[in-house]
Structures are given as structure tokens and as C-alpha cells.
Subunit: 444 residues, 2 copies
């Protein structure tokens, strides 16, 4: 595809190129820019129809956007800005260097400039920061016909027209009405009779994750955002909610793997930033693993007498770690999807205890056979290792499942309590169990 | 809330209760059922307005649905079934025991019965299995006015009316047109002039994950599903896509934590099923940890001479494991979000190599200080441990980042290649590095 486009550009067959571009979705055109040599970009961009151009622009990566903006004449810049939805404009501005931001702000209408500044002022993870202020607002005394007239007059610039918001003269949110309801009602119906009167809404400062969850829970296409006086200030649309859901899942996964969450996709993150994301937990966990070393040092004499005990340390530690992270990761994800709450703790512990016992016994049996047939250790050693296995799996599952619940309860992020931290705790615990059983049984 | 409802039920204040219920979203009413004693459920359900009742029914858990269905009279059952969207009906049927399914099928219209059977026949993870067959279809020669007439006539039963699908007489998909386009066009415009002619579509057998990704990528509200002859058979709506996205993230997280993915929420899964989810990888990883034991056994003599070396094994193994899973989890998530592809492998390795070196050196320095000041080991031992650390972190990151890429390349699931498996490989590698350096430096 990209070859054809470069060929057409070099052959100056612009009309044919325009024809091809008109059949491609904006986001796919944006993907083409990734593979296009820089020198062709401005030309290809100028060949796009005006409406498509803005949609493509939003999807380009920040470097390409900056390059294009720098090359734009003032009137070209203004044209692009006029076509952008406000929330997209804000997203772009957040990525641009100061001089480009100044130029963008200078070429925006005073009203748009004011709104951009307002959205930029909302905290990073708030509903306000992801909302759009372009929505259809209706009044309670309008008829269905009035509503359609308003939609036809103003709808072209709105991100969604399918949910309309009914406000009073003080901009207080009174209700919502869908275009479906409007279409299925008689033309002379009054809005206040068909609107839903107790709409679900969120506040500007609510966490964007909660907003996304609400949108997904209620299967809405958009959710109204109000300020502290319940005045309607914007809406969050479902496409933005999907992005938030994906981001949050990525953040949880990163935290579970002992990283601080990243802001950008992997390939756009520099070496230094990736390093900073990864080093804190590596350091913490390295230092905390010292305790495990101390436990081994404490039992140095026993290990000297039965060196064979050393060879099972990695297997016991790994199995404990894996058992623990299975439980913790399940609970963390359940908490994050709100399928699990702290009040379920007894049910969870009771379930985990039973699962742990079955897992532990099965693993111990399998291991016993292997120890006797392959490793050919003494019966006593085999019993020590297998008993330890049952104990380790049991405690690993109990710690792994309860720690995230307590973290959540006291207001910590459960995901941070996940695998690696639990591994460290479980490592220490499994060694304690191991050496204590060994000491007791082997009389050392 | 639930207390008020129980109070009103026992006081038989049904009118007041109806009033309260009418102000609550269906999914929140469904949540009330979770806390309601079983004996009140049928009564509360019968108090719901007909349209709300179906929406609430869909959101109830399978046990409650079964109980209600069993208690329904035949005409009540038919009423509920008539109000359900087909894809919801199929979801419910999939959860019910055979006798309930038979009763449901017996009380459905022949046409509906046929469609239910058809959807039930699509493979579990296909687009066909999550699509709905209720959509608005238009013809190319209709005018905008005709379209609105059709929407008004048939729209009430459709899951979404906002995207309409244009088909020819053979039901082949020709284009799509949004209600927004219809509203913003003159009444006598012909559909073929305003429709989008090359709509994005998916096939019935496409993976539902790809369908969800396409919906999220293009910011669509629904995506048409066609059969092999490009005949339109259904649509997938954005709310179902969000569910798929959440499920897929959960599955990836479960695989990364060495579990086989679950079908149901944690608290609904039995002990036995949870056990079956967790035991396979625990067994595999326990057995594979034997190699690590073998390596230690091989260097038993060296460890006998320098027992202090044993105390650093857990720290080295854990740090290696954590470094490896940081890299692997990042790459797996990137692959799953399609931000990373196999062709990026050289960029990724080059980046990981640099990140690994910086991380390794920083960790080694911190550890060196700790070894000399707190542990007070000899300079030689400290150097052995710190050099091993750099080597381990380096190889862990390289293995952690490349393994998922190769897995994807040869068609394996990258998530399965994650943390635990990589931990086992990295454990063995770090011990090899450790003992080889120790042998060389300490002349053992």
C-alpha cells in the first residue's frame, strides 16, 4: 500500500491518489504516515479532504503532528484547529513543545482558547481531563420537533448527537433524552415528558477510571460530567472510555510486574524513562531478598551437613512464588473489575485454603515420586521436601489472596502488592518452613 | 437501600416500591437481587415495568435467572423472551441447564428459535457468537425520509439504531449510514448518495478479540458481521466489545500468572475449577525447577567450600526473575495492544540491552555497598556477586523481551511465555553465570 502511495506521489498522480485516500479510514491513513518518508508527509496531508484531514491529524504521532504544524501556514493551522474536537485539541496540545502550543493557542478563537485552558487545568486522571465540551443541550419545554431543529443546526460539530442533555437556565442537568427516544416520539411531544429524569452523571474531579467503569457498566454511549453545583460542563464518550479501560489494564499489568506505570507506548518511551520505570522495585526487591539470604545463613550448619537440601531451595521458592502470584493476581484483577470486595474476605480465604490444600497435595505426590525414582534421595529427605511443599503452597495462597484485600482496605493500590512483593514474602516463609521441618525431622 | 426494599415488601407497600424502582438503572436493580433473600425475588421481579424487567433479567446471575424461569408461568416466560435482545437470550441459554433451555426454546417464536440455534452454532470466541441480529437495514434507493419511516417503524426492537446498514436484494452489505448523516441530510436525499461505500466489516468466524480491537480502533458504535458471501448477518455493538476487551485483559493477566484462563468471575468459580486452572503450570514449573536444583548439585563441592555463596542465591534468582518479567510483561502487553510487532525485534533488543546494562550496573553498585558494609564479605565474593548481577539482569531482559516475540512469530500465545516460564529459564541461567564466575575467580 505504502509503495503505491509513494509511487503516485513521485509520479505526481495526485488525482488518483486522492481517489485512493478517500476510500481509507482516517486511522488507517494515519498508519500510512508512520511508514512514509518525512519529506512526503506535508504533501500527502494536503491531499486529504478537509474533514478527513482533521481526523487523520488526531491519530498521527506527536512527532509527525509537530512537524506538520511547523510546516503549516497560519491559515492552514487555523483550518485544522477549527475542524478538531476540543478534547482532541487538548490531547494534542499536551504533547507539543511550548512554542508550538503558543502558536496553536494564538490561532484559536477566544472562546475555544478559554475552554482549552479550562480542560488543561483539570487534574491528569480526572473526568474533566478526558471530557469533551461539545454536546447537544436541550431545554425541558422544547418539543421533539424543536429538538430536531437544534440537532440539525448544531449537530455537525458535536462528537455525539445520540444522547442529548436537558439543562435549565442555570445549566443544571435536569435529564437526558436519546435520539432513539426522539425518533420514536411524536413531533409535538414535550422533552420534559420523554426525558429520563434521574440521569447517571459524574463530577469533573471523579477519577477517569470510575467514569470508564460507569460507562461500561451501564452500556451508555456517553456520560454527563457536572461541576460541584451540578451544572453540566461536558460529556465523556464511550470511545474515550475504551482507551481508559485499556490504559488501566496496562497499568495494572505493569504494577503486577513490579514497574511504575508508563505514560507512553513502549517503542515511544526512551531508554532512560524505561530504566526509571523499572529500577525502583528492582532495588527494593533486591534489598528485601537479603532476608531470604539471612535465613539461609542462619541454617548454614544444617546445610553443611545435608548439602542435598540446598538443591531443592529453588524448586520450593519458585513453586511458592507461583502459587502466591496465582492467588494475588486473581484477587487484584477481581478487585479492579469490582467482582470482589473486602467483605468477601472470609469466602475467599475459605476457598483459597481448599484450593491450596488440593494443589499442595497433588504437587507433593508428584514430587515424591520424582524424588524417590529420579533423584533417589532418602525417604526422610523426600518427606521433608514434600511436607514443605504442602505448607508453602498453603501459606503462599493465603498470603497471596489476603494481602491485596488488606491493601485495598487501607487505601493502597492492590496491584502494587502483587507477584514480586508476595514472592519475596513467600520465599522467606517457604525457607523458614523448610528449615524448621528439616531441623525437626533430621535432628540438626 | 436493600433494607428499605425488604421493608416495603413486607409492609406490602407495592405502589411505593414501584415508584422507587422506576428511578433505578436496571443494572443497579439487578445488584439489589444479589442481596435479596430468595423468597422475595419473584415478587420484586413482578413489580418491575415490562421493559425494565427484561433489562434487569439479563443482568442477573445465572442461578437467579434459573430460579425465576422455573417459577414463571408459560405466559410470563414468553413475555420476558419477547423483550430480550437475541444476543442476550443466547447468553442466558448458554448458562442454563438442559431442561430450562428446552422450555425456553419451546416458548420462542419459530423464527427466533432458528436464529438462537444459529448463533449457538458459532464457535465460542467468534464474532458470530457475540453478534446481535437485530439491526436496521436500508436499501440504496430509499430516501432519507423512507429511512426515518423504517427506523420509526422497526427501531424500538433494535439494539442500536444509530448505524444503519445498506444491503442489496441478496443481503450483500453495500454501505453504512449513520443517523447523524440522515439527520443532517435533506429528506429527499437518496441513501446511496450519502452512505459510506466501503464500510469496515468482519466475518462471522473472525476472533471476537479482533472484532473488539477494530471497534476500539475505529471508534465505531457497531461493526457489521458478514458471512463468506459477504451477506450481512449481524452486528457487534460497542458495549459487547468493551466486555470482550475486559475479558481479554483478564485472560492475559491470568496467563501471565501461570493460570489457564477462567470462564467465570472468581467468586462464581468452584474450588475444583480453580484448582484445575492453577495446577497444570504449577506442576510443569515445579518439574522444570529441577534443572536449577541439578545446577546447584553440580556445584555442590564449590558451595561446600564457600557456603556464603549459597546465601546470595535467592537474591540473584529473584532479581533475575523480576528483571525478566518486567521485560516480558511489557512486550506481551505491547503485542496484545498491537503497539509492538515482530519486525521491531532489533529495536526492542537494542533498547532492552541498554536498559538492562543501566539497571544491572545500578543494582550491582547498590549491592556492592551493602555487601561490603552490612554483610562484610570479602572483596572477591562481592565482585563475584555483583558481576553475576549485571550478567543476570542483562540476560534476563534479553530473554524476557525476545521470548514473547518468537512465541508470537511461531503462532504460540505470548502471554503463556510470561513471567513464570521465563523465571525458570532465568533462574537456571543466573545460577550458571554465578557458579561459572565463582569457579573462575575463586579457583574452585
Amino acid at each position: 500500500m505504502i509503495d503505491i502511495i509513494i509511487e503516485l506521489i513521485t509520479a505526481k498522480q495526485y488525482a488518483k491518489l486522492k481517489g485512493i485516500l478517500s476510500d481509507i479510514e482516517p486511522i488507517d491513513i494515519a498508519a500510512l504516515f508512520d511508514d512514509l518518508p518525512k519529506r512526503y508527509m506535508p504533501l500527502l496531508y494536503r491531499l486529504l479532504p478537509k474533514e478527513t484531514a482533521a481526523e487523520v491529524f488526531v491519530e498521527l504521532d506527536a512527532d509527525t503532528q509537530e512537524m506538520l504544524i511547523t510546516g503549516f501556514s497560519d491559515s492552514e493551522l487555523k483550518e485544522v484547529l477549527d475542524e478538531l474536537y476540543l478534547d482532541d485539541a487538548v490531547d494534542i496540545i499536551e504533547e507539543m513543545p511550548a512554542n508550538v502550543v503558543k502558536r496553536i493557542i494564538r490561532h484559536s478563537d477566544p472562546e475555544v482558547r478559554h475552554s482549552i485552558n479550562e480542560i488543561l487545568n483539570y487534574p491528569k486522571d480526572s473526568a474533566g481531563s478526558i471530557m469533551t465540551i461539545e454536546f447537544i443541550d436541550l431545554k425541558e419545554d422544547m418539543t421533539v420537533q424543536d429538538a430536531f431543529t437544534k440537532i440539525r443546526r448544531t449537530g455537525v460539530d458535536k462528537e455525539t448527537i445520540y444522547t442529548c442533555y436537558v439543562t435549565d437556565r442555570n445549566r443544571i442537568l435536569k435529564g437526558i433524552v436519546s435520539v432513539k427516544d426522539l425518533l420514536l416520539s411524536a413531533e409535538d411531544c414535550v422533552i420534559s415528558d420523554i426525558m429520563e429524569k434521574n440521569p447517571i452523571f459524574v463530577y469533573t474531579l471523579d477519577d477517569k477510571e470510575d467514569v470508564a467503569k460507569a460507562l461500561s457498566k451501564y452500556d451508555f454511549l456517553a456520560l454527563p460530567v457536572v461541576d460541584n453545583e451540578k451544572r453540566l460542563v461536558g460529556i465523556v464518550t464511550v470511545d474515550d472510555a475504551i482507551d481508559v479501560i485499556q490504559e488501566e489494564a496496562t497499568e495494572d499489568i505493569e504494577k503486577m510486574a513490579a514497574m511504575t506505570p508508563s505514560e507512553k507506548p513502549y517503542l515511544k518511551t526512551g531508554v532512560w524513562d524505561t530504566f526509571k520505570q523499572r529500577i525502583p522495585w528492582l532495588l527494593v526487591l533486591m534489598i528485601s531478598a537479603t532476608f531470604t539470604g539471612k535465613i539461609i545463613a542462619h541454617f548454614e550448619d544444617a546445610l553443611g551437613k545435608f548439602v542435598v537440601l540446598t538443591t531443592f531451595i529453588p524448586m520450593l521458592m519458585d513453586t511458592g512464588g507461583n502459587s502466591g502470584s496465582q492467588a494475588s493476581v486473581t484477587i487484584i484483577r477481581g478487585l479492579s473489575l469490582e467482582e470482589i470486595h473486602f467483605r468477601d474476605i472470609l469466602r475467599i480465604l475459605w476457598k483459597e485454603a481448599r484450593v491450596a490444600l488440593i494443589c499442595g497435595v497433588v504437587l507433593a505426590c508428584a514430587n515424591f515420586v520424582k524424588l524417590m525414582i529420579i533423584d533417589r534421595v532418602t525417604l526422610t529427605i523426600a518427606l521433608v521436601v514434600c511436607t514443605t511443599l504442602v505448607g508453602t503452597v498453603f501459606f503462599a495462597k493465603i498470603v497471596g489472596s489476603s494481602l491485596p484485600l488488606f491493601a485495598k482496605k487501607i487505601g493502597f493500590d492492590p496491584a502494587v502488592m502483587a507477584s514480586p512483593l508476595i514472592t519475596t514474602i513467600v520465599d522467606a516463609m517457604s525457607l523458614m518452613i523448610y528449615f524448621n521441618i528439616a531441623s525437626a525431622v533430621l535432628h540438626i
